[in-house]
Symmetry: C2
Subunit: 498 residues, 2 copies
C-alpha cells in the first residue's frame, strides 16, 4: 500500500495540447481549472489523492481515439475513468496523466434477446442494463455493491464481482467482446459474439487489466434470465465463528446459493445508524444473508435446508423475506454498507482479500485481533461464500497517526491472508493502493511476465501508468523505473537505449 | 486448412541429444525407432500425419523440465501430447519436434472437498477425476465426448468443452491454477487457489493456448457438486428445422438446460449400425437430447415444459429416460458418435464451428447443400444450445480426389459460419488444421498481437511450432518465417539480426 494522503499537484498541460484537445472534443469537454479538477482527485478510496493535469470528456469512441492520439504524440500519459467508485486508487492520475472521463459514452446500443446479448458504451451504469431488460425477464448478472453508480467500463477494467457472483461468475464470465482504443490510438476488437473465439484469449487477459492495456469504447455483454423464483434468508448469530461454519456447511451441503453474505456487528450498527437502516438486529455478532434462486418448485425445500443448517449452528433466529419489498430492503441495506460506514469517520479503507473458505473462522478471529492491536474500528461485511473478505477500517485521513495505523493493519491483514493460501485482492483490484503488496505473492519473474504482456497492448506505458505492477529496475541512463512511461518515452524516441 | 495427408518424415535427432535424454529420463522412456514413432504420426484427425524425430515419456514435472532444457539448449523444438484425442492436428510434430508424452504423469495428487478442488497431473484422464470424487457427490464438470480417454493437460491446452458446458462452462471456468514448464525450462505457477488472482490473468490466456505457451505439469481444478436430480429427454423430429427451432425456444423459454444436443439422421444411422447402438429411431430427421438437472423438486415440471415445447414444434415423440441405465445408454451412444462414424469410411473430418444460435436452421440447410455439391456424406451431431456445430465428413484419405473435396467443403462451411457472424472453431482448437482459417477472422495486426503474447511465454518459438497463428513475414536473412523457431534460433544465437 503506497502512502500518499497528501495531494500531489501535477504540472499543467502545455497550452498547445489543450488547444488540440479542445478542437477535437469541443472546448467545454476539456477541463483544466483547478476547481474542476479537484473533483477527480480520488476514487472511492480517499486515502490517495492526485489532481490530474486535465480531464477530457469525449462523446464517442472516435473522440476517445482522437484524444489518445493527441496525448500519445506528445508522450503525455492518460487513463480512463468511469464513475470513480473503484476502491484501489486505479482511476487516479499519476505523473500528470490526463483523465479521460467516459460519462458521455452512456448509450445502450443494442439488445438482442434471441442471442442473449447487449452492446453498450462503457459509461452505461451497471444497473441501467438490468433495468432496460427486466421487462423481458433478463438482467446483467454481475452486481457490485456500487451497481447503482458504477459503469460497465469500470467493471471490465476491474473484473468486478458482487454478492451474486458466487453463483453467476465475475464480469469476465459475462463479457463476449470489447472494442478498445489502444494507447497507440488504434481501435481494435477483442472477442466475438459466440461462446469461444479461436487463438489466444486476449479478451480474457484484457478484462481485469485495470485500464493499463487500453480504453474500452464498446462492450458486448451476456444477458441472463432472471430466475423464476428467489428466497432470501436472514440468519442471526451470536458468534462470528458460528456464522462462518454455517457458510462452509451450506456449501458442503450442496446448496448452490445465489449469494451468501456475512455482515458483522460493527457493520450492522453502522447500517442501522444510517439512513439506509435495514431493520437488522444490532445485538448479534453476525448476520448471514442467504439467497437461493431458480425454479420456483424446489426453492421452498432448499430454503428450509439452508435454514436448518443455520439453526444447527446455533442461529438465534432465521427469517425469510416475506415479499420482494422486504428482500429489496435487505439488499439495499447490505449494498449501502460501505456508504453507511463512511459516516462513522471521514475516511474509509475498504479492504479486499481472499482466503480459502475453510479458513474463514480463524482468519476472521485474527483480523479482529489485529484491529485491537492497532486500536482501529474494523467492520467486516463480505462475500463469505467465495472466501472474499472485506474488512473495513473507518479513520480520519487528517490524522497522520491514524493513517499510519490503518496502513500497518492493512498490510498485516493482507500478509495473514496470503500466508493462509489466499490472495491480496478478491475483486477490487490492485490499482495504486496494493501495488507493493503484489510482491507478497509474485516473484520478480512473474511480475516481469505480466509487464511483458502489458507491453503487447501498451508498449509506450502511457495508459494508466504506475498501476498494478510495481516498478523494480531503474534505468541507468535516465534514472526512471524501466517500466515508467517517462523512461519508455525516452527509449521510444531514441534518446537513449537500455 | 493445411493439406498434408502425406507422411512427413522428420530428420533424426542427434545421437548426443538422445543420450542426454536417456540419461535424464531412463533409456526406455526415449523412443526413436520408426515403428515406435508411427503411433504418434497423427492425433484423432488423421488428415494430417507427421512422424516425430523422437518421443520422450517423463515421469515427473522435474523430468519434463529436464527434457525441455536439453532440447532447448540444442534449439530442437518439442511439444506436449496427452491422449492424442484432439481433432485439429494440435499434438502433431512439425519440423522435427520431439513429442513429450505425458502418459506417466497420471496421478491425482490431492482432493479437497471442503474447498472444492483437486490437484492432478496432466496425464490424468478426464473421467477418472469424476470417478474418484463421485463417492462424495462431486464431479469434474467439463465433459468432452472423448472424456473416457482424453487427459486434463489436453483439456487445458484446448480449453475443452462438452455437452454439459452449456450450463457449466468450458475448461477455463474450472481451472484454478497450473504449474507450467516454460520453453526455457523454468517452472512457474499461474493462478491460485481462490476465485480471483490479482494482476493480469495469465492463467486465463494460458488455457486454450494449445501447447504453444508451455507444458502443464500440474493443474488445480474445481470440483462441482453432482446435481441432486437429472432428467434426460429424447425428442424425435421429422425435419432439422423443427429441431433447431425447438432449441431456440427452449432457451428463450428460460429453461437452463444442462445439455442440449442435436443428432441428425446420418449420425443416427452411423450410431445404430455400430456396436454403440443406443436404440435411436433411424427414420427421423433429427433427435434432440435435452437434459435438465438441479434440485429434484422442480425437475419434473421443467422436463414437462421442455417436452411441451418439443411437441408444439412438431416432435413426433418425446420420451424421458426412465432410469440412470437408460440415461447412460443415451449419452454413451451420443458420445461415441464420432467413433461410430469412423466405421463408415477410413477417415473422418470432425468439423467444429460456431454460429449465433438464432441462425442455426438456415446454416444447417446450407451445410447439407454444400455436402450435396461436393458429393460428400456430412453427418451433424452437435452442441445445439451453444450454436456449436460439428459437421462430420467421412472419407477415404487414400483417395486424393476425396481429400480435395473434403478440404474444399470444410473451407466453405467455415466461411459460411464466419459470414453468419460465427467463428471457425467452437472447442476443438486451431492446431495445424485451421491455421490458415485464422485469417478469415483476424487481421494481420490481431495475429501479430497474439504472437507477441506467445513470445512472452515462448520467445524461442520452440514449444509446439507451426500451430495456431499463421506465419506471415519471411526473414530476409535466413528465409524462414519470422515466427519460425528456426529463424528465432538464429536470432537468439546472434547469427543474424532482423
Amino acid at each position: 500500500m503506497a502512502s500518499s494522503t497528501q495531494v500531489e499537484q501535477n504540472s499543467a498541460l502545455p497550452a498547445s495540447v489543450v488547444e488540440k484537445l479542445k478542437s477535437a472534443l469541443g472546448a467545454k469537454h476539456v477541463l483544466t481549472e483547478r476547481d474542476e479538477l479537484l473533483v477527480y482527485e480520488s476514487d472511492a478510496l480517499t486515502l490517495h489523492k492526485r489532481i490530474p493535469s486535465a480531464v477530457v470528456i469525449p462523446g464517442s469512441g472516435e473522440e476517445v481515439a482522437a484524444a489518445v492520439r493527441i496525448l500519445a504524440a506528445e508522450g503525455i500519459p492518460f487513463l480512463p475513468r468511469g464513475a470513480g467508485t473503484g476502491i484501489s486508487g486505479g482511476a487516479l492520475s499519476t505523473g500528470g496523466a490526463v483523465i479521460i472521463e467516459m460519462a458521455r459514452l452512456n448509450r445502450i446500443l443494442k439488445i438482442d434477446y434471441e442471442n442473449r446479448l447487449a452492446v453498450v458504451e462503457p459509461g452505461v451504469i451497471n444497473i441501467h442494463l438490468s433495468q432496460a431488460t427486466s421487462v423481458e425477464g433478463f438482467h446483467y448478472a454481475p452486481d457490485p455493491s456500487s451497481q447503482m453508480a458504477c459503469t460497465i467500463g469500470g467493471n471490465v477494467a476491474e473484473n468486478s464481482g458482487g454478492p451474486h457472483c458466487l453463483k453467476y461468475g465475475m464480469t469476465v464470465n459475462h463479457i463476449l467482446a470489447v472494442e478498445v482504443v489502444l494507447p497507440s490510438g488504434e481501435l481494435i476488437t477483442l472477442g466475438g459474439g459466440g461462446t469461444d473465439v479461436p487463438g489466444y484469449d486476449l479478451l480474457g487477459v484484457f478484462v481485469g487489466s485495470e485500464g493499463t492495456f487500453g480504453i474500452v469504447t464498446k462492450a458486448t455483454l451476456k444477458l441472463t434470465r432472471i430466475a423464476q423464483g428467489v428466497k432470501t434468508l436472514l440468519a442471526e448469530f451470536m458468534t462470528v465463528t458460528d456464522a462462518s461454519r454455517t457458510v462452509s456447511e451450506i456449501i458442503a451441503g450442496g446448496i448452490l446459493a445465489a449469494a451468501l453474505e456475512m455482515i458483522d456487528n460493527a457493520t450492522i450498527r453502522a447500517i442501522e445508524d444510517s439512513v439506509f437502516a435495514g431493520g437488522f438486529p444490532t445485538d448479534v455478532a453476525a448476520l448471514l444473508i442467504i439467497e437461493v434462486d431458480g425454479l420456483s418448485a424446489g426453492l421452498e425445500e432448499t430454503a428450509e435446508r439452508a435454514a436448518s443448517i443455520c439453526l444447527s449452528n446455533n442461529a438465534r433466529a432465521v427469517r425469510v423475506a416475506k415479499d420482494e419489498e422486504e428482500r429489496m430492503r435487505l439488499w439495499g441495506a447490505r449494498k449501502r454498507a460501505f456508504g453507511a460506514m463512511g459516516r462513522i469517520k471521514a475516511d474509509l479503507m475498504v479492504q479486499d482479500a481472499v482466503v480459502p473458505r475453510s479458513r474463514l473462522p480463524e482468519i476472521l478471529d485474527e483480523i479482529y485481533q489485529i484491529a485491537g492491536r492497532y486500536n482501529l474500528n474494523i467492520a467486516n461485511v463480505f462475500h463469505a461464500g467465495d472466501g472474499n473478505l472485506h474488512p473495513n477500517i473507518s479513520f480520519d485521513g487528517r490524522d497522520p497517526d491514524q493513517v499510519r495505523r490503518v496502513e500497518a493493519a492493512s498490510k498485516e491483514i493482507l500478509q495473514l491472508c496470503v500466508n493462509a493460501g489466499g490472495s491480496i485482492t478478491g475483486e477490487h483490484g490492485v490499482g495504486l493502493d496494493k501495488i507493493e503488496a503484489m510482491r507478497l505473492i509474485f516473484s520478480e519473474n512473474d511480475l516481469n511476465r505480466m509487464l511483458a504482456v502489458r507491453d503487447v497492448f501498451n508498449p509506450s506505458g502511457l495508459c494508466n501508468p504506475g498501476k498494478v505492477i510495481p516498478t523494480t529496475k531503474t534505468c541507468r541512463y535516465c534514472g526512471f523505473g524501466m517500466e515508467d512511461f517517462r523512461h519508455k518515452r525516452l527509449t521510444t524516441h531514441g534518446m537513449h537505449r537500455d
